[in-house]
């Protein structure tokens, strides 16, 4: 492996890339939360304005974006547990790479059925098997 250039702390590999993904997913979820509190606040305006905006969440494209949101939250949540283990478990730093691979397996195992359930209605509406 080539030596990292002097003057940077970035070392690549599992450690850095999981950190990068943790940042990106965190910032994305934070911006979604801002929008989500505003749309939920419409329950205080009127039932019809709330229902109108919630309809947007049920449309096919936004439904797909919701799967992206769930993926971002799920990664951030699982990787957060890994960070806590690195910080507080004495062997945490030693096994940080192994924990990342376990985390990625869990991520796929949990996300696939969740995405299936979330997209089922949209798929049935789009491809006509909805009754």
């Amino acid at each position: 492996m080539p030596k990292a250039p002097a003057g940077t702390l970035y070392r690549g590999r599992e450690g850095m890339w999981s950190w990068v993904a943790h940042r990106i997913t965190g910032v994305l979820v934070f911006f979604f939360l801002f929008a989500h509190v505003l749309d939920t606040a419409l329950v205080r305006v009127s039932p019809s304005s709330y229902n109108e905006v919630i309809e947007v969440y049920k449309s096919p494209i936004v439904n797909l974006l919701e799967v992206g949101l769930v993926a971002a939250v799920l990664f951030h949540a699982l990787n957060g547990i890994r960070i806590i283990l690195i910080d507080f478990w004495e062997s945490g730093p030693k096994y940080q790479k192994q924990m990342l691979y376990i985390e990625l397996v869990l991520f796929v195992v949990l996300l696939v059925p969740a995405a299936y359930r979330m997209l089922l209605h949209t798929a049935e509406t789009l491809f006509g098997s909805a009754t």
Binding site: A41, S46, A77, I83, R117
Partner: protein
């Protein structure tokens, strides 16, 4: 940011190893005309991120599971659904704790990101003012909505 010292004179630049302070070490803030202030704020922020993160793991994943996956998912959500949930103090408390922890966790996360990437002191200051203003609005609005919700609106 790890920066090497500026080249002195015309010759080859001096190579100086970046000076690194351990993360979360107490900050020494020197105010003009005041004694040195030592603060453990960064340590408390670090502890808060871990405690709130652990709680949010269950609160947020539970919320996503109920709202997006359980019986019908988002397709069944409307004003009546919200009214039914918020008739129970349990779900109001769940949503309130989740709102406060998530907004504070996210605000502290973005504070870290701003400190890392905004290099000018003025830019850092104004980005953080914008961040804290938005956090105040979100917390206030969200809390108000949870407490004043009226199912007969």
């Amino acid at each position: 940011m790890a920066t090497a010292a500026a080249p002195s004179g015309r010759g080859a630049p001096e190579l100086v190893a970046p000076e690194l302070v351990a993360p979360r070490s107490p900050q020494r803030r020197t105010k003009p005309g005041a004694a040195k202030v030592r603060s453990n704020f960064e340590l408390y922020a670090w502890v808060f991120m871990r405690i709130s993160g652990l709680l949010l793991f269950f609160l947020v994943l539970g919320h996503l599971f109920i709202m997006n996956i359980l019986d019908g998912g988002v397709q069944r959500v409307n004003f009546g659904f919200v009214a039914g949930r918020w008739a129970s103090p349990f779900w109001r408390l769940w949503d309130l704790v989740m709102l406060l922890l998530a907004e504070l966790h996210g605000t502290n996360g973005l504070r870290t990101v701003i400190n890392d990437y905004a290099e000018r002191a003025q830019t850092r200051f104004w980005l953080k003012m914008l961040l804290y203003t938005s956090a105040f609005l979100v917390v206030t609005l969200g809390t108000l909505v949870i407490f004043t919700f009226d199912p007969d609106l």
